[in-house]
């Protein structure tokens, strides 16, 4: 049984349609992660380094959003970005970019909360040291971000893995569109898995699951070894 599944997975890997779906999964969630970093890092830096009113409330909101169910987010986004919805003019429904934006919102709290935590952990020691060495406020902040680097890497990996493994948003915003050679396909690994389960083709679903887990594990392993190589795992 295990051997059969393994051979089946290998067979499927060489299938262009499966390759296409796998690459789309990586691309969609990769874009989501990059968007989340672009938006999330400045927010995290501001929350960790600046003092302003309502800061703790914002932090706790982001912490609470860590556990938001993907189906809820998917449903809210579906209503908003459907052509007759408030954000309908964006034309995001049933597109790859739509899934990326949805997943970005899903993982933004991961980036913000993780990074804020890791900056705050290194803050005290570094700040005093930097000041004694005569650094300006801005230079100090840069030094802090640098020291918090491993936290950022961890946050990025956790965020990407959450994005690529979620189903609710990919299904409701993407719609699992697939036409051989089509230009508007949105089928990703998770939506393909649920479809094959629904169609009774469990073997294919298992093989896709193995591919998904392989991606998630390899990325975690890769980052571990990278951190070891560059000695960035001090914190």
């Amino acid at each position: 049984m295990i051997l059969e599944t393994a051979t089946r997975t290998l067979e499927l890997l060489t299938n262009p349609a499966v390759l296409d779906i796998t690459l789309r999964s990586i691309r969609v969630s990769g874009v989501a992660t990059i968007l989340a970093l672009v938006v999330g890092l400045p927010i995290a830096a501001a929350l960790a380094l600046l003092n302003f009113k309502g800061k703790e409330i914002i932090k706790s909101i982001f912490n609470a959003l860590l556990g938001i169910p993907t189906v809820v987010l998917g449903l809210v986004l579906y209503i908003l970005i459907a052509p007759n919805g408030v954000l309908g003019y964006l034309g995001l429904l049933y597109t790859e970019l739509g899934i990326s934006v949805g997943q970005m919102l899903l993982i933004l709290p991961i980036i913000v909360s993780f990074v804020v935590n890791s900056i705050e952990r290194v803050e005290r020691e570094i700040r005093d040291l930097a000041y004694t060495l005569g650094a300006t406020e801005f230079q100090t902040s840069l030094a802090l971000l640098k020291e918090a680097y491993s936290g950022v890497v961890l946050a990025t990996i956790a965020a990407f893995n959450r994005a690529i493994a979620e189903l609710g948003i990919a299904l409701m915003i993407g719609g699992n569109v697939f036409v051989s050679g089509g230009r508007y396909n949105t089928r990703v690994l998770t939506t393909a898995m649920q479809m094959y389960v629904a169609r009774g083709e469990i073997e294919v679903a298992i093989a896709l699951g193995i591919i998904l887990i392989a991606i998630v594990f390899s990325i975690s392993l890769l980052s571990n070894s990278l951190q070891r190589c560059y000695g960035l795992d001090k914190t």
Partner: protein
């Protein structure tokens, strides 16, 4: 907000021309749409089509939110409501097959060979006696709507039945519902396509498959305010043409030994009567697949009409 700004820019750049068809899982899960219809239609017209599989209720929601250009569904009563609410026009019946009542091979309710209505009555009786379990989709899909109709014809109110312990609601698609029913040796109503696809995975047998009440009618409705109205009409005309109908007739023959969907153009006289009875609407002394006031810019497209006797 910044992100949405960036996204809107990119959205403008790739202005897309793609026809979105929201459809039912029973059509989609057979593979007919994405594997055959989409690619053949692209060859014929150059137009990209994407199918969103949702179940009839959700497909209608999609259309109401402007997310679909066409719905391809199988619940005539709800289709009429949809058109009456002003969302849909130009309904055409494209294909049909039959629902089947499936159950454990031992058939503890003894419904094999009965008429659908007699079978439903017997199932309710034995269910209430605690002898058997009936599994319902409970998701307002076309299959669920048909089931509700069958209960009504048998003299039962589905809303009351579903609270009785012998009826289990899955709230999922047909495939999962069949697996569930098979696991607990229960009875359920299924469309033919999904049942044939699942046959090798489950231990349920086709027990009642004959009877006009079991007719399953798939129709195409164009969304009135669709931005791709013209493209939607092209695909509609193509589907009812000989080419489109032949593709539907051929589908599934290799894998299952018979076609999963029967094209409407090759319907026999008797089945046609059933389709008129269960899938046509009254309009000015005739029964028609699309009442006149719901026809829009459909030059040359013929809508079936039958005089009421």
């Amino acid at each position: 907000m910044l992100v949405f700004a960036v996204v809107s820019l990119s959205g403008c750049v790739e202005q897309k021309k793609v026809l979105t068809i929201s459809t039912t899982t029973s059509l989609y899960d057979t593979g007919l749409l994405e594997e055959v219809i989409a690619s053949e239609f692209k060859k014929y017209s150059g137009i990209d089509v994407r199918f969103i599989a949702k179940g009839t209720g959700a497909a209608i929601q999609d259309a109401m939110r402007g997310a679909a250009d066409v719905i391809f569904v199988h619940a005539p009563e709800r289709e009429l409501e949809f058109m009456k609410a002003g969302y849909g026009v130009n309904r055409k019946v494209i294909a049909y097959n039959f629902f089947v009542i499936v159950g454990p091979p031992s058939d503890p309710a003894g419904i094999k060979g009965l008429s659908p209505i007699e079978a439903m009555k017997k199932i309710a009786k034995l269910g209430r006696e605690g002898e058997i379990v009936w599994v319902s989709r409970g998701d307002m899909s076309g299959t669920n709507v048909k089931e509700i109709q069958l209960w009504k014809l048998a003299g039962f109110d589905y809303d009351k039945l579903k609270n009785e312990g012998w009826m289990h609601l899955t709230g999922s698609g047909m495939g999962k519902t069949l697996l569930y029913a098979s696991n607990i040796n229960a009875y359920t109503l299924s469309d033919t396509g999904t049942y044939l696809k699942y046959k090798k995975l489950i231990k349920l047998e086709e027990l009642v498959s004959k009877g006009e009440e079991l007719i399953n009618i798939y129709s195409f409705i164009v969304v009135k305010n669709s931005k791709n109205f013209d493209a939607a009409m092209i695909v509609l005309r193509w589907l009812v043409s000989e080419d489109g109908q032949n593709l539907i007739a051929q589908f599934g023959k290799d894998e299952f030994g018979k076609s999963l969907f029967n094209p409407i153009s090759k319907v026999d006289e008797k089945t046609r009567e059933w389709i008129v009875k269960y899938g046509f609407f009254e309009d000015d002394g005739v029964k028609t697949e699309c009442p006149k006031k719901f026809r829009l810019a459909a030059n040359g497209l013929e809508f079936s009409e039958v005089k009421i006797q």
